[in-house]
Each structure stands twice: as C-alpha cells, then as structure tokens.
C-alpha cells in the first residue's frame, strides 16, 4: 500500500451501510412512504453502485486495501499463536471490487423491477419486502468485502437469514413457509461444518484473514499455510492437532469450510433447497437465489483460493462435485413444467460449472463464469418474472406459447439470456463456459495420475451437461414464446411497464456483450491481448503473493503448480488446436441440444415428449428421489438417534438430576427433624458435635 489511502477505500464501508440505512427506513417508516420503501432502496443501491464503481476504478489504478474497522476482542490464544484478533475489516482487491459491482448493480435492477412485480401487482407487506431486500444487500456486500473468515461467516449467515425471510414472504400460504424452512435447515446443515472450519482455521493459524497488504506484522492464513507446507518460502507457525500431517489437516479444514459452500451454492447433495426456494417472489429469486447469494459459496472458495490450492484432494473433490452437479441438475431441468423450476435447476447446474472451474485450477474461469452467469441468470429470472406478470402468476409453460409477439422486449432480452445460458457464440455464457471446460480439459490432460483422471471425468460430466443445457434452455424458450397460445391468458397477457422492461434491457445487453471482456480463445488464435479480465485480476503489486491471479495460476512458481501440482497439457495441434477442439466440441453440443429442442418444441402445437424417456421419466420428475432420500435420512436415521438421545436425557440425565433433588429433599427433612425446638437437645448436640470434631482432630494430629 502506498503512503495515503485512496479516498474510495475510505468511503467503502458506505457501500454496505447505505442498504442498511434503507433497511432501517423501510422497517420504521415503510408504511408511511410512497412505494413502501422501494425508493429508499433504489437510492441506496444506486449509491452503492456508484461507490463500487469508484472502488473499481481505484483498484484498476493499482491499489488494494486491507483495513481493520472494528476489533471486538483480542483473545490470548497462548503458546505459539499469541494474540488472536477478532475484527471486522475490509479487503478491497480486484475480486471483491468486481463482486461489489455485480451485487450492487443487480440489487439496483431488482429493486426497480420489484416496482413492477410487487407494487404494481398490489402486494401487501411491501415495507417488509423492501426491508428484507435492503438487509440482504447490506449483508451480501459486507460478506463480499470481508477481510477475514469469521466476518465472512457472520454475513454468510445473515444472507441465509434474509433468504429465509424472503422465501417465506407470502407466509400465509402453505408452500412458502415450508420452503423457507427447508432452505434454512439445509443450508444450515452445511454451515455447521463451515463454523467448525472457521474455528479450526483460527485455532490453527491464529488468524482468519484472507490477505494482508503492506502490514508485515499481520498474517493471512492462506499465506501462512503455504509457508508451513514449504510451498512458498518463509517461516510460519501453525498449531496442528495431534501431530497430524499438515497437508491432511489443511485438507480437512478446507473441506469443513466447503460444507458451507456446498449448502449455499446448492451443490450436490445439498442442492434440494434451491428449487423449493422458487416459492419466494421472482425478483428475490433473481437477486438472491440466482445472481448473488448462491454465488457466495463459489465466491468464498475463490476468496480463499490460495488455501485450497494447497490441497489437491480438496480441489479434486470440488471439481468432481461441481462437474457432477452440473450434469445432474441439467438432466432434471429438461422435464420441468414451471418456467422458474427450469431456471432453478439451471442455476444449480451453472454453479456446478463454477465449482468445476475452481477445482480444475481455473480461478479466472470460475470468476468469469460467476460474473456472466450473474447477469444472464438475473436476466432470465426477471424475464420469467415479466412472463409471470403477463400470465397472471401462472408459471406453467404448457399454458403459455406465442408470447413472442405480445411482449417483444421480454422476448428478445430473454432470448439474449438464453443464448448466453446455452453457450452460443458470441453471447457471454459461451466465453465463460468455454473457458471453464478448457481449464478442466487441459489440466486433466496434463496432470498425471488419479488427479488428472478425476479432472477428465469431471470434464466429461461438464461437457455432457452442455448438451442438456442447450436442450432445456430452448425447450423453455420455445414453449414460452413460440407456437400458438395454449390458454386464454396467453392469448391476452397482462402488459408490463417501464420498470420491468428497463432492467431487462440493461441486463439483456450485458448478457450479450459482457463475455467480450475475456475472449481467451480469440487471444490464443490471434495473439491479440484481449483477455482483459485475466489481466485485471492480476491486480496490484502488493497482492502478488496473496490473492492475485499471478499467484494462483501463472508461471512455474504459482500455487497451481507448486501446491496443487496441476500441469496443463495439450492435444494434437498444440495450444491453438486444443482451444479450437474444446470450443468446437462444447459449441457443437450446445447447438445439438438447442437443435433437438427446436425439432421437438418449435411447432405450433407442441406436445410432451417425456413418455419417450420411459422409466427415466419418473426418476427425473422426482428429481432422482433426492427429497425422498433426505426425508428418509431424517425419519429413519436422525429421528431414532434423536429419540435415543431423548431417552438418554429423560432417563439418565434427568434421572440423575431428579435423584439428586429427591435425595436432598429427603435428607433436608431429616436435618429438619434434628431441630427439635428443645434447647437442651441443642446444647447436647452442640457439645457432641464439638467433641466429634475434637476427637477427630486429636486423632489425626496425634495430640496426646
């Protein structure tokens, strides 16, 4: 860090504070304000967006910032670790600056869209709704800026709470509260491991900072861990329990934190809450359950990527879980009838790609896909919201059809998002998904042994999922917008206003062009230096050995090679050939999927083809019986265990407690009886008591 702190960083806390103020205002005065507090939220998120852009510009200028804002407590951990500082802090680097813009931009657009989706539809409880959005935006932005794991955990929990509150917004109906509870419990299951991981990391390293800038006295745990393993030079202290191999212990810690990631980013097997979360209002689905909160898990892995790169095992698991989830969720998406359900499974699938990228060493690829996905998936959800308004809140695609002519803005923007989702060149999703698959492919080819094989398996999952993605995406587009209207509402849809069309237009353009910031295949082919995102994530010099891309992926000394032992390989034709083959295969599969959907559903009177799937149909309709399996686990495994614990508590613990109390009451009554009321008895007992004491002392002391 240079001498003076740039102004933008001094103002950075306001990025999170503004939505918090809007939350308080909506909560306190929402009833008395026009639009139920929406305007405050719009102003606040617009302010956050402007400040985020300022931070972005400042970071682009080569600055980074780590700063402790408030220390709650300094624990004396004793021993080698000394004092442990628990605090709130800021970490502003390229990754967090990028994420700040994504979150505040989408939050702003969703606030505007909500005017159309909630206010114009005459919903009640709007102050509660906007308070929830404000609190969520505050928590998410604070999570993004967190400079340490404990703070990240706290805001991770807060966004979970907001998700719970907003999924259950229509709490008088049956399904939303139940979905809210499910989302809360399933993610909490993962967060439990996360919490243990946080404590473990603090106990091991004495700090949970992600990175330090300039301050030599401070330590960051990924850096310390690399020193302990000898991957980078330097000395570091770490308390490893029971003389365990440090590598193994770090893997355990990484996997514990990963528990929270799997829950929040809806990865297999904790993905089941996300489809149910669609019970919430659609703008909430767009903001929380597609673009931002679900990204928190992936973001966290990227945030502490230096730690994961030290553990090949953890990386392998991340890649495999990601690849499998991508395919698994995509297959479920192909049979869904409700438009939001298709999008929900698609979201799970796309986060699988990001995890695959992270597991395969593609830090930039994952971040890139995180960004493009945030835009095109928010777009698709808002487009779906627009359709749902038009359809009078009927979400069944089989009742739609022919909406293309009735709502052109929605159609063309939705199409832009769909092309991006399916991965059709040159829309944004193509570039990012292609880079994800490319990273998995080359590292799978180049890395020796099980590690490489594992990556190739994950890559195969991901590749196959491309086909399904193309298929379900265009099935959705054709069923919704093409053909003849299949219901009266579809013949005469409800119109939407500027506040719906505006956000759609912004996101539609972004979904089309944002991929151009990182056209790696073009660079490889032409040699033009147009991988801007890659360059940008390299960040300032101060972060070179902390969180920069250079530290993670570039060159022979990077953690990717030294820590994770990944090596890039190529097919025939060298790098250029590999790039071309990889891109061609994924594009071909996407087009094949889209083409099949065109054949089956782009007809005036489409019919269901699910019967052709045979037995697989039921399996897919029932989501591979995952919910049933979880219910089975709860009823057959957890319940008996809980009952046994209850029995133990009732009989042994309470028995002991009751026993103690009855013994004391009984002996209490005995004692009471000694107090006869006769003073002569007292004198006798007193003297006898004294004599007993005297004899005892004389005997032990040998007085005579």
């Amino acid at each position: 860090m240079t001498g003076t702190t740039p102004f933008a960083f001094e103002f950075a806390p306001a990025i999170a504070a503004l939505p918090f103020v809007s939350f308080l205002i909506a909560l306190a005065f929402g009833d008395r304000m026009p639009k139920g507090g929406a305007l405050g939220g719009i102003l606040a998120t617009a302010g956050s967006l402007l400040l985020s852009l300022w931070v972005f510009v400042t970071v682009s200028g080569g600055s980074a910032y780590v700063h402790d804002i408030h220390t709650w407590t300094i624990l004396d951990a004793g021993g080698a670790l000394g004092d442990v500082n628990l605090h709130f802090g800021l970490l502003l680097d390229p990754l967090s600056a990028m994420m700040l813009i994504i979150v505040s931009l989408i939050a702003l657009l969703v606030h505007v869209f909500s005017l159309g989706y909630m206010n114009d539809e005459g919903e009640t409880g709007l102050p509660r709704y906007y308070a929830g959005l404000g609190l969520f935006t505050f928590s998410m932005l604070s999570f993004v800026m967190a400079d340490n794991l404990l703070q990240a955990f706290m805001f991770f929990e807060l966004v979970g709470l907001c998700s719970f509150l907003l999924i259950g917004f229509w709490f008088r109906e049956d399904a939303p509260p139940s979905a809210a509870k499910k989302a809360f419990l399933v993610t909490r299951f993962g967060d439990y491991f996360f919490l243990i991981g946080v404590v473990g990391i603090i106990a091991t390293f004495g700090t949970s900072r992600f990175a330090v800038v300039g301050d030599a006295a401070a330590a960051a745990f990924p850096v310390e861990a690399a020193k302990v393993l000898g991957v980078t030079e330097g000395t570091a202290t770490a308390v490893i329990p029971g003389g365990m191999d440090p590598q193994l212990w770090f893997t355990i810690l990484g996997l514990l934190v990963l528990g929270g990631v799997v829950g929040k980013s809806a990865q297999f097997p904790l993905h089941t809450w996300l489809p149910d979360a669609m019970e919430g209002p659609t703008p909430v689905s767009a903001l929380i359950h597609a673009a931002t909160m679900v990204a928190a898990g992936v973001y966290l892995v990227a945030r502490m990527y230096g730690f994961y790169l030290l553990s090949p095992t953890a990386l392998g698991i991340i890649a495999l879980v990601g690849g499998f989830t991508a395919l698994f969720a995509a297959t479920m998406g192909v049979v869904k009838k409700e438009i939001k359900q298709v999008l929900a499974y698609s979201t799970i699938s796309q986060y699988g790609y990001m995890m695959l990228a992270l597991g395969a060493g593609g830090y930039v690829a994952a971040t890139f896909h995180l960004m493009t996905h945030a835009f095109f998936k928010a777009l698709l959800f808002l487009g779906a919201g627009s359709v749902i308004i038009a359809m009078h809140h009927n979400e069944n695609m089989w009742d739609m059809g022919g909406l293309k002519e009735k709502m052109p803005v929605t159609y063309y923007t939705f199409l832009s998002g769909s092309l991006a989702l399916a991965g059709i060149v040159p829309f944004s999703g193509f570039w990012s998904k292609d880079e994800v698959l490319y990273e998995a492919f080359v590292h799978g080819l180049g890395t020796a042994g099980t590690q490489g094989t594992l990556l190739l398996v994950a890559y195969a999952f991901g590749l196959l999922a491309v086909f399904f993605t193309g298929f379900y995406t265009f099935r959705m587009v054709f069923l919704t917008f093409h053909g003849e209207p299949r219901s009266d509402t579809a013949k005469d849809p409800h119109g939407v206003r500027w506040n719906v069309k505006g956000p759609l237009a912004v996101l539609g353009i972004l979904a089309a062009v944002v991929g151009l910031v990182n056209m790696v295949p073009v660079k490889k082919l032409t040699g033009a230096n147009i991988d801007f995102l890659h360059k940008w994530l390299k960040g300032p010099e101060a972060l070179k050995a902390q969180t920069s891309v250079a530290h993670y992926t570039d060159g022979d000394t990077s953690l990717l090679h030294e820590g994770a032992h990944y090596v890039a390989g190529t097919l025939a034709g060298g790098e250029v050939g590999t790039v071309l083959i990889s891109a061609a295969v994924s594009l071909g599969l996407a087009l094949a999927g889209a083409g099949l959907a065109y054949r089956l559903y782009n007809v005036p009177e489409p019919v269901e083809h699910t019967d052709k799937l045979g037995a697989a149909k039921d399996v897919l309709y029932n989501n591979y019986y995952q919910d049933e399996f979880q219910v089975f686990l709860a009823e057959r495994v957890t319940m008996p265990l809980a009952k046994a614990a209850d029995t133990f508590d009732q009989s042994v613990i309470d028995g002991a407690v009751n026993g103690v109390s009855s013994v004391s009451l009984f002996s209490g009554r005995r004692v009471k009886r000694v107090q006869t009321g006769l003073v002569t008895n007292y004198a006798l007992l007193l003297t006898l008591g004294f004599l007993v004491l005297l004899v005892a002392m004389a005997a032990t002391g040998g007085w005579f």
């Binding site: 109390s661 107090q675 002392m697």
Partner: protein, 569 residues
C-alpha cells in the same frame, strides 16, 4: 507500626456508640430535663473545644486523647444540645429517634468509607494500633465496620415502620446501635481479650433484641434459646482463650504468633484451645455445629433484627475468625506440622455447614425460616475463605478477600431479603410460600427487589452476589481446592431451587384468597429498595470492593508488604 494512634481511628465505632447513647438521652428528655440536658451538653462541648485547643497548642495530648478525639467529643456534645432542643416532650419522639439512629449509622459508614479511601489512595498507609496493640484499625477492620454500619442504617430505617405501635422504641434503637458498636469493635479487636469483650458487647443487646416482641411467644422463646446457646458458646470461647493463654502466655495476637513461632510442647492444650475458639466463632457466624440457635432466633425475632443478626453479626463473627487465625495462628503450614491442622477444621466446617444449611433450607415451608437456613449455607460459603488458606500461598489473598467481598454484598442482599419479610409481616401476610402467592401484582416494586435479592443470593448475575460467589469459587480453585468450589457450586445449584420457589410464588402463582395490603410503609420501602439498588449497582461497581477486600486480606496474611506510614497519629 504507629505507636501514637489516636482514639479518633475508631471513629466508625464511636459514632455508633455515641448515637446509641444519644438516642437514650433523647428518649429521656422531659419537659423539665430538656433545658439542663441542652445546657450540660453545650458546656461539655465548650470544654471539649477548649481541651482540643490546649492539646493543639501544647502539641501533646490531654487526658490521653488527641486533638481529633476532643473535637469529635465537642461535635457530638453540640449535636446532643441541638437535638435535645428540638425534642417536643409532649409529642412522640419516634421519628427523631429513628432519624438520629439512621444518621449515626450513616455517619459511621461515611467515616469508614473515608478511611478506606485513604487506605486505597495512599500507597504506604499504615494500620492504627490502639491501647497497647489491643485494637487495630486496618483495611479489614474498616471494611467490616462499613458492613456493620450499612446494615445498621438499613435496619434502623426499616424499623421505623416495623415498630409502629410498640413500646420502648428508643431502647430498641439504642440496643441496635450498641450491638453495632460491639461488631465494629470486633472488627478492630487485636487481642483475645478485646475479641471476647467486643463479642459480648455485640451479643448481649442482640439477646434482648430478639426477644423484643415481649408479647409474642416465638420472639421470647427465641431470645431465651439464643441467650442459652450464646452463654454456652461464650463459655467454650472463654475456656479456649484461657488454654491459648496457658500455652503462649499472651493474649495479644501478634504476641501469640511470636510465642508459637518456634512450635510448642503443649500441642494438645493448644489444639483444644484453638478448637474451642473455633466453636466461639462458629456460634457467632451460625456455622455447624454451633448453629442450632440460628433458625429459631431468626424466625422468632422481629424481622429487622433477623436481618441485623444474620448479616452484620455474622460478618463480625467472621472478621474475628479471619484475624485470629491469620494473625495469631500463622502460618497455617506450621500448625499443620504441629498436628493442629486448623485449615482442615475449617474445610470440614465449610462443607458440612453449606450442605446442611442448603439441604435444610430446601424443605422449609416458612420463608423466614428458609432464609435462616440459607444464611447458615452462606456461612459455609464464606468459610471457604479460611478453608483454602493452606493451599497455594499466593492465592490466599484472593480467596480470603473473596470471603470479605461476599460478606459485604451479603450485607445488602440478605438484609434486603429479611427486610422484605419485615414488610410482609407489616402487611400481615402469612409466612409460608403459599401465602406469598400473587404478591407480585400487589407490590411489584418490593417484589422486584426481593427477586433481585434472591437471585443474587443464589448467584445469578442480576446482583453482585454472582460476582462475589464467582471470585470465591475461582479463588478456591486457584488455591488448589477445586473440590471445595465444587461442593459450593452444587450447593448453589440446590439453593436456586428454594430461592426460585419464592420468586415463583410471588410472580406466577395465583393468590388463594383476597390479598389486601394495608399501607405503603415509607421507611421499609426505602430500605428494601435501597438495598436492592446497591445489590444491583455493585455488579458494575464491584471492582473497588474487590480491590479493597483483596488489599485487606493481603494486609493480614503473612508475607504481606509492610511499608506503611501513619494516618491516625
């Protein structure tokens, strides 16, 4: 050590004694005696001022008293003259007498607090020794004088309403103040002789006070039993003193210690003597097996007197135990090697006392009697302070100081609890748990205060009782006696049960019949609320008390620093 300390150092005790006498004077003022009393006092005051002037100019003392003592006498004489002049012989002096008693106690408390502040702020302050080292005024004395004075103030305040319609009120206040004087002197006693005299000065008025309700059978019976057991225990104590004197040839505590520093050949005699001394303390602190008087005396006595005896008298009993055993019979290890392991004796007493007190309290139906047994249980907790002295030497001041802190806090929370009983007795509500049902709705302020007292007694963090108990158990653990702390903690858990019964009755249960409360006695309310406020405020303001107590403990324990200068010259 200072050799020329003045009587002035005993200010807190003198205030109490002077107020006691003043109360008697005021009560005997009649239409004809009014002027002579006032004139006599004024003349005496002028004489005392003159004596002070002479002493000041000659730089010496007059009648063996310093300037301060003469000035003190003058001030009191003028006060008497002024107050006597205020007396209206035709009317009732009730209010005046009670006010004077409260004011005297508050003056005493202020005096003690002032001296304590001096000790707290002067790094080399020195204890005052009086009458050939027979009395000592140090931090421990002052802390316990403060306890006695604060309890006396609360009790005197509450008694104004409680005594409504009773005869001999001035005698009542005079007895309370004289007993409190005895307790203050117990805190300062530095020789077995003064210990005995002070103890009797505290005890004799107490007997009369317990039996104060002459027409109440329970009160009279309780007074008689208290007197008989007291006489028996005093004889134990006196005999113990004689045996210690026979062994060492001294009564003064430091002299006893130096006589025993090389050991003694009369181990058996000394051992029996010391055990008998323990018996005397056990009586005064209501510890097993000398506790039999306590439940009956506390139950039968007027409730303010129960508060007085169970808080102030108990604290005074402890201060002499602390002083005698830490000054005369020290170090503990020497006596253990002689075969007189007094730490072990206190360990046994602590465990038995707290267990018996709490177990018996758990089965009581009568709230006042429950509090009486709980008071025995608390004596057991405080005994941990002496029982943990044989362990890690450097932790001795923490645990002994913790005992003092507990007694200080106890002086408010237990007094408050008994004064609440006094309030209930004033209203004529019954004495059992059932009778308390629904009281919370009728008298929410008083019941909130009672809830604070009870939870604080149990050790919940609504009052300072939590902190004092915490430091006590913490000190026991760090001194190496974790099992004493464990027994204490188990007993505390049990105590929560019976304390909560009262809280539940007051707030949760429905009253059996019509509950009508007659009147809002101002004095009683003021005392109860004041005690509750202090109990709560000591929670955040615990540090000064803790610091004072630990310094006081440090001063009496062996190998404490001795770089001090005189204050009471």
């Amino acid at each position: 050590m200072s050799s020329h300390a003045s009587l002035f150092a005993l200010g807190p005790a003198l205030y109490l004694a002077a107020t006691g006498l003043l109360v008697l004077v005021l009560d005997s003022v009649g239409r004809t005696t009014r002027l002579p009393f006032a004139l006599g006092s004024a003349v005496f005051g002028v004489a005392a001022v003159g004596a002070a002037a002479v002493a000041a100019f000659t730089g010496g003392t007059l009648l063996g008293l310093g300037v301060g003592a003469h000035a003190f006498a003058a001030m009191n004489a003028f006060l008497v003259a002024f107050l006597v002049y205020l007396v209206d012989p035709s009317g009732s002096n009730r209010l005046l007498v009670a006010s004077v008693a409260v004011a005297g106690a508050v003056f005493s408390l202020g005096n003690a607090a002032y001296y304590l502040a001096y000790f707290g702020t002067t790094s080399d302050a020195q204890a005052a020794l009086l009458f050939g080292d027979q009395l000592v005024v140090d931090q421990m004395s002052l802390l316990f004088m403060a306890i006695a004075a604060s309890v006396t103030a609360l009790v005197a305040l509450a008694s104004y309403d409680y005594l409504e319609g009773h005869a001999y009120q001035a005698e009542y206040y005079a007895l309370v103040l004289l007993a409190a004087t005895g307790m203050s002197l117990m805190a300062a006693a530095n020789s077995l002789a003064t210990v005995f005299v002070a103890m009797e000065l505290a005890s004799l008025p107490s007997f009369a006070l317990v039996a104060f309700l002459k027409k109440n059978r329970g009160s009279v019976e309780a007074g008689l039993k208290y007197f008989l057991i007291g006489a028996l225990s005093s004889s134990f104590f006196a005999y113990g003193i004689s045996l210690v004197y026979a062994t060492t040839g001294s009564l003064q505590l430091e002299a006893v210690a130096s006589a025993l520093s090389g050991g003694t050949e009369f181990v058996g005699m000394l051992g029996i003597g010391m055990l008998m001394l323990v018996g005397g303390f056990a009586y005064k602190t209501a510890s097993v097996p000398f506790h039999f008087w306590a439940p009956e005396a506390y139950e039968g006595a007027p409730a303010p007197i129960s508060a007085f005896i169970s808080s102030a008298s108990k604290a005074a009993g402890f201060v002499i135990a602390f002083r005698v055993f830490t000054v005369a019979f020290t170090p503990a290890g020497l006596f253990a090697s002689l075969g007189i392991d007094w730490v072990l004796v206190f360990q046994i007493l602590a465990v038995v006392t707290m267990t018996l007190g709490n177990f018996a309290a758990a089965t009581q139906e009568n709230v006042k009697r429950m509090l009486a047994y709980s008071s025995i249980g608390h004596a057991g907790y405080v005994l941990i302070g002496l029982a943990s002295l044989g362990g890690v030497a450097s932790q001795g001041d923490t645990v002994l100081g913790a005992s003092m802190m507990h007694l200080f806090v106890y002086g408010f929370m237990n007094t408050g609890a008994f004064l609440f009983i006094a309030l209930v007795e004033y209203w004529g509500v019954g004495r059992t748990f059932e009778d308390y049902a629904g009281l919370g709705r009728k008298a929410p302020v008083a019941c909130a205060a009672m809830t604070v007292f009870l939870f604080s007694l149990a050790g919940l963090p609504v009052g300072a009782g939590f902190l004092s108990k915490y430091v006590l158990f913490f000190g026991a653990v760090s001194a190496g006696f974790w099992w004493l702390a464990a027994v204490g903690a188990i007993n505390s858990a049990l105590s929560l049960y019976y304390y909560t019964r009262v809280v539940k009755a007051m707030w949760v249960e429905e009253p059996n019949g019509e509950l009508e409360l007659q009147g809002r006695p101002t004095g009683l309310y003021a005392a109860v609320v004041a005690a509750a406020v202090v109990t709560v405020l000591l929670l955040p303001g615990f540090f000064p008390i803790a610091e004072t107590a630990i310094e006081a403990a440090n001063a009496v324990l062996p190998n404490a620093g001795d770089t001090t200068t005189a204050f009471f010259g």
